[in-house]
């Protein structure tokens, strides 16, 4: 709190705007502190310029008011201003036309130029000239002031445009012929251009808008004027222009000269300069946006213009119609009078307006370029109108018509009405088109790569789902027992290369073992399909019911066509849940059962050396080991009738065929003495105990990690892009190369040793030959006709090729002693496990 100091001066007491102040009347507080304690708060600027603030008149007024509020009586003072009270008596000459005030608040956007007609206003000099010029002319030969101005304006316009720097050398001024030539070329920059254009488009002479004044005499068209007076007025104009040294006849405001670097600050007549502003950073994006916006604007304006033009055309037509009607009416009046005069009675039909025939404008409109919507609207309106019209006119026909006429008309109308109703019944051939209000039309955003990609993806998704839905519709009423009929066909044939590689070295990856469903429907267990319809509808098991007997779909929800597999986004939570549930359910999952691990070894190969150093390569399927086991078992059980010698090849071939139609044969006693049976047994035991390849335990990595296979697929996709995958791939590549090197090296060693032992190497039998017969059924189970899997066989060519290529190496070496073969050494250790597995499976079967 400020206290009065000894000097009598106060500290500034600040006043806060937020502080609540008590409002009191002076008379309520007689004990208001003495005058000296009330001192000025912080001085607040008046806002008037310092120099001006001290002007005597202002000071006088301010002191007077100050004194007034301090209680002093002062005379009213005011700041003297120059006289402005004079009235201009002539004004009424120029302001004559009355104005019609609008009822509501006025809305207006036209400019001064729009409302002031020809931009050239003649002055006294022109007037003088024109009076002189017209003095010896009569009637049409006279040039009106309006016409004169039009000519002058156009001459000025042409020269201002073509010779903007005429003042540099006025002698260069264009001649009349040149001006004439240029002036007649329509120039879009000319404000009268629009007038002229609209006039010609609508066929209105002397086109005027509401903003144009009505002249007493309509000026003739510019072209005509140019012919009539142009040559005469040109010298006058040229003279005026030249006296101005080539500058426009009438002075204009002085604007900044853009060619000058420096701002012309010293000339007080230069005004309305452009503001300097920091240019927005130009980016491709901004440019594109700008261009796009301009394009849209241009289009919109064009459309709007077109529509308006058509409206104008319609109104012109309407005007003509009214005029015609009016003319007819007057004619009739005349006839009526005439008839009365001449005493003619009857024949009044011509004097009455008959029901006008509706002109079918629909056709016409259709041809025109109106928008679909507009067309529809008009059509509907027209139809309605016609219906209404017919209805009403049919009921109350004009009295003057004879009954016959009426009947005829009614007939016609009925026909027409029928036609109309037909028209209205038929669905209009238009696309559904919803027009958004302009405010809701979004600004077009810049398309990014992301959106393009997304659109593409969406498009693909949509196409796929559309196809699927189509297929589903086609298949309606049929039950497809394949696992998923819409899956693309996978040719799951093993890569030969993979077969001889050591799998145990493979890093555990999803690439090594992604799962596919088997494409061979014959091997699919359908029990699941029938017991659980879940497969057909991914959401609700109640939606699809299949009549097991007829195979007909009883209820089908068309909206649920999309199978779960096609959820490309991979966020099909429901499905994965179901999946998990099914897994745990007593009924084994359909998927689970028929799942095939691609990288699983499809068959086993075994190489052995038979008699006379002949090499044999045996092949045995692994996946079907169970079936094969069964087959082998069956063979044991079978009573062999056939006499023909059983070739090993034939047998294996047959086994494949047998699998196709599994027969539940009744168990019979095994003929121990049957040599053929023993052959089979031997064959079986041979596979049991002798295997070249390591058993591959197909543990699905996804299962190992306890994740859903779908997720695993996503991970797989991601992995392909990752560096880790690249790295892994490289490592693997190196490993392979190293291994090959090692092999070659060892082979060389072996060869050298061999050569040392035998002198010269003697290859026995080609590789192909050795492979012969041991191909026991191809991977996809479509092995046909010839069991001879030599090169050029129809099935799995690639596989064959690669196999033979791989076999080249060991073939050349042809080692005598099994122990010395490096490959064997490497693989033999791991041979135990598959054998164990096979025996286990066999046990399980027997149980």
């Amino acid at each position: 709190m400020a206290l009065p100091s000894t000097t009598g001066r106060f500290r500034q007491r600040k006043i806060s705007v937020k502080q609540t102040l008590q409002v009191m009347k002076q008379k309520d507080i007689p004990d208001l502190d003495g005058e000296e304690q009330q001192r000025e708060l912080q001085h607040i600027e008046t806002g008037v310029e310092k120099g001006e603030e001290e002007e005597k008149d202002l000071q006088a007024v301010m002191h007077a008011t100050d004194a007034k509020f301090h209680g002093a009586k002062v005379a009213d003072v005011s700041i003297p201003i120059p006289d402005a009270s004079k009235m201009w008596v002539d004004a009424s000459k120029y302001y004559q036309t009355k104005y019609q005030f609008p009822e509501d608040y006025l809305k207006f956007s036209s400019t001064v130029e729009d409302t002031s007609g020809c931009q050239y206003c003649m002055d006294e000099l022109d007037d003088e000239f024109l009076i002189k010029y017209n003095s010896d002319k009569e009637g049409d030969k006279k040039c009106t002031e309006d016409e004169f101005e039009i000519l002058m304006y156009n001459m000025e316009r042409v020269v201002n445009k073509k010779q903007p720097f005429l003042s540099m050398d006025p002698s260069q001024i264009l001649g009349f012929d040149e001006i004439k030539e240029i002036a007649l070329v329509p120039d879009e920059a000319d404000p009268t251009f629009i007038h002229r254009q609209l006039g010609t488009q609508l066929g209105i002479q002397n086109f005027r808008t509401m903003l144009d004044a009505t002249p007493k005499i309509m000026p003739r068209p510019f072209r005509v004027l140019l012919e009539l007076f142009g040559a005469d007025i040109y010298p006058h104009w040229k003279g005026r222009r030249l006296t101005k040294e080539g500058n426009p006849i009438f002075p204009r405001l002085k604007f900044e000269d853009p060619s000058q670097q420096q701002r012309d600050d010293n000339d007080p007549y230069v005004c309305f300069r452009r503001r300097e502003y920091r240019h927005a950073r130009k980016t491709r994006r901004a440019d594109m946006q700008g261009v796009e916006k301009l394009r849209l604007l241009d289009r919109d304006f064009r459309n709007a213009k077109e529509l308006l033009l058509m409206v104008a055309q319609r109104e012109v037509k309407r005007q003509k119609e009214i005029d015609a009607e009016w003319a007819v009416f007057r004619q009739r009046c005349a006839i009526k009078d005439m008839k009365r005069e001449l005493g003619i009675k009857g024949e009044d039909q011509d004097l009455i307006d008959h029901k006008r025939r509706r002109i079918n404008i629909i056709r016409k409109v259709k041809d025109s370029t109106m928008s679909e919507r507009e067309r529809l609207k008009i059509k509907v309106r027209a139809d309605k109108k016609s219906l209404h019209k017919h209805g009403s006119s049919a009921s109350e026909g004009p009295d003057s018509l004879t009954a016959q006429l009426r009947r005829q008309q009614q007939k016609q109308m009925a026909q027409r009405a029928g036609l109309a109703s037909q028209e209205s019944v038929a669905p209009p051939p238009v696309q559904p088109y919803v027009k958004l209000p302009s405010a809701k039309i979004p600004d077009l955003e810049m398309t990014t790569v992301n959106t393009v990609l997304k659109d593409k993806l969406d498009g693909i998704k949509k196409a796929v789902s559309d196809k699927l839905i189509k297929r589903k519709l086609q298949d309606e009423g049929w039950v497809n027992f394949t696992d998923d009929p819409y899956n693309p066909y996978f040719d799951i044939s093993p890569n030969g290369e993979e077969l001889l590689r050591e799998r145990s070295h493979l890093p555990f990856s999803s690439i090594a073992s992604s799962t596919y469903t088997i494409q061979d429907s014959r091997q699919i267990d359908f029990t699941y399909v029938f017991s659980n319809s879940k497969h057909y509808s991914n959401n609700d098991s109640e939606i699809v019911k299949v009549n097991a007997a007829t195979g007909q779909v009883i209820r089908n929800d068309r909206h649920n066509f999309m199978p779960a597999f096609y959820d490309l986004a991979g966020k099909d939570g429901d499905d994965s849940e179901d999946y998990g549930l099914n897994k745990g359910s007593a009924q084994e999952s359909f998927y689970e059962k028929n799942r095939l691990n691609v990288s699983e070894v499809l068959f086993k190969l075994r190489k052995r050396i038979g008699r006379a150093g002949c090499q044999w390569i045996d092949r045995k399927r692994i996946t079907d080991s169970k079936d094969y086991q069964k087959y082998l078992d069956e063979i044991e059980d079978e009573q062999l009738v056939e006499d023909e010698p059983m070739d090993l090849d034939d047998e294996s071939e047959k086994s494949v065929e047998d699998i196709e139609e599994p027969v539940e044969g009744t168990r019979k006693r095994v003929n121990v003495y049957d040599s053929r049976a023993s052959v089979k047994r031997r064959l079986k035991s041979r596979f049991m105990f002798d295997s070249d390849l390591p058993a591959f335990d197909p543990v699905d990595p996804s299962r190992l990690n306890q994740i859903d296979p779908q997720t695993q697929e996503i991970r797989f996709g991601c992995m392909l892009l990752s560096k880790a995958y690249d790295g892994m791939h490289q490592i693997r590549q190196k490993q392979i190369e190293a291994y090959q090197q090692r092999l070659i090296h060892q082979q060389k060693l072996v060869q050298q040793r061999h050569q040392r032992l035998h002198g010269s190497g003697s290859g026995s039998g080609s590789v192909n030959g050795s492979v012969n017969g041991s191909a026991n059924g191809s991977a996809n189970g479509s092995a046909n006709g010839s069991a001879n899997n030599s090169s050029g066989s129809k099935s799995s060519n690639g596989t064959n090729g690669s196999i033979s290529a791989q076999l080249q190496l060991p073939d050349n070496s042809t080692p005598r002693k099994g122990k010395s073969i490096p490959k064997r050494g490497v693989t033999s250790k791991s041979l135990q496990s598959p054998i164990k597995e096979v025996s286990k499976q066999a046990q399980a079967l027997k149980n």
């Binding site: 705007v17 310029e49 120099g51 007609g117 020809c118 206003c121 309305f272 503001r275």
Partner: protein, 456 residues
């Protein structure tokens, strides 16, 4: 103007204001007078110090354009030679140091550091600068001549260029039109306005009441009137009562009209600048209606986007309509707009003398009305500001000039003095027209950043 500013602060010049006694002999000859010199002139029986800004030969008689020191420029006028008192001293124009500096700055900007180093070698460099700048030439000479004797100085000035030389600043200080016909009024302009220089020959302007187009030729004006159909400001009517109408006009959309308006208002506004174009402004025009149309009475311009929260840039009631309370309506309207916008507003500074008085009157009336009518017991400045849309500074300013802010029992109070009550009662009796905010049909216009960029 910097000149008047200096004259106020200079004690020597303050002394000049009281005219010294005249001497027997003439102290100077007419030819010795130069542009910017100060002499004593007779006006209404009194002798006033006046600055001579220019001269002209009219019918063999020289007339002088004088500015009365310490009076507003609108009182500047042409006087005959016999009004000038040759028996009292003449004061030569003051050295134009300020301008000199200004020009130097500009030349520096122009050619970078080169000039700056040269400027240190005073004399020579000055002359080099002078070559470039036409107008600087004379002023530079004046500065040099300070050391010379007065006689020499005058002689030099006379020969070096008469007082009618094209001193831009003098030009802009001189009124360039004598008479303006607008509507059915004949008005004397107050200040310079940059209408085309060719029109100043006659000194008469015919201005169309509606489109504000200007002509110096009567025939042209007549022709224009027959063709023009505009009967109102070319914008949207946003307020209408039975007394006045307001129009909102966008400078960017109605460039011609707004330029015309600015040129016209420059005739009556000293501090208005037409340096820049009209694009960044909205113009709110008050009109009165009669059978011929809407006649412009006054207007105020407003920045589309004001960095300083001004709600008025320029405000003018045309002189023929002044002293009828229209100014207050304009001001009220500007605050009504601010209220709609939910902003506080204040007029752009500097205010003119008349502007300050009008605003003070409005502020006083508004605050007093608020305090008296609401019978408020306590209120903060901020609250007043929220209610009235006036800035707290303006409110404090007003309360202070009314000496309503008192210190009572250890705190500030607002004291409604007896004089205020008297003034309030007087105002109540007066029955003046006030605007009805409910008749304002207006939404604050919104502009995008691109729309607020006003370059080419």
């Amino acid at each position: 103007m910097s000149d008047s500013e200096d004259s106020g602060s200079d004690p020597e010049e303050a002394r000049r204001l009281t005219p010294p006694d005249p001497t027997e002999d003439e102290q100077f000859k007419p030819f010795e007078m130069v542009s910017g010199c100060q002499v004593y002139t007779e006006k209404n029986g009194k002798y006033l110090l006046a600055e001579v800004l220019g001269s002209q030969l009219r019918k063999d008689k020289t007339v002088y354009y004088v500015h009365y020191v310490m009076y507003n420029k609108r009182l500047d006028e042409w006087i005959d030679q016999d009004k000038i008192d040759f028996h009292r001293p003449v004061y030569p124009p003051r050295p134009q140091e300020k301008k000199e500096k200004k020009h130097k700055k500009k030349s520096k900007k122009k050619s970078g550091g080169e000039i700056r180093t040269k400027a240190q070698s005073k004399h020579d460099s000055l002359k080099e600068d002078e070559v470039d700048l036409d107008n600087l030439n004379v002023q530079g000479l004046i500065k040099e001549s300070e050391k010379l004797s007065r006689q020499d100085e005058l002689e030099k000035l006379r020969t070096g260029g008469s007082m009618m030389q094209s001193d831009v600043h003098a030009t802009a200080r001189m009124r360039n039109f004598n008479k303006v016909f607008i509507g059915n009024h004949e008005v004397e302009p107050w200040y310079f306005s940059p209408y085309p220089v060719e029109y100043t020959e006659d000194g008469v302007l015919y201005i169309d009441d509606f489109s504000l187009q200007y002509f110096s030729s009567k025939k042209q004006f007549e022709r224009f009137r027959t063709k023009s159909t505009l009967r109102h400001p070319p914008g949207n009517e946003i307020y209408r009562d039975d007394y006045v109408s307001f129009f909102e006009i966008d400078g960017k959309k109605q460039r011609t009209w707004c330029r015309n308006l600015c040129l016209l208002s420059k005739l009556f506004l000293d501090h208005k600048t037409l340096y820049y174009d009209v694009d960044p402004f909205l113009f709110y025009c008050m009109t009165r209606r009669d059978e011929f149309g809407y006649h412009l009475v006054g207007y105020f311009s407003k920045e589309k986007e004001s960095a300083d929260n001004y709600n008025v840039a320029c405000i003018l009631t045309l002189p023929q309509y002044q002293r009828h309370g229209y100014g207050k309506l304009l001001i009220q309207f500007s605050y009504e707009l601010s209220k709609k916008e939910g902003k506080l507003g204040s007029p752009e500074k500097p205010l003119s003398d008349l502007g300050l008085l009008s605003y003070r009157a409005y502020w006083t009336e508004t605050i007093v009305n608020l305090l008296m009518e609401g019978s408020i017991s306590d209120i903060s400045i901020d609250e007043i500001s929220q209610i009235t849309s006036m800035t707290t500074t303006d409110i404090l300013h007003t309360l202070q000039t009314l000496s309503m802010l008192k210190y009572y029992k250890g705190q500030h109070i607002i004291c409604i003095t007896d004089q205020v009550i008297v003034a309030y009662e007087k105002l109540q009796k007066k029955k003046r027209h006030l605007l009805d905010p409910s008749k304002l049909v207006w939404k604050p216009p919104v502009f995008t950043a691109a729309q607020l960029r006003f370059g080419w």
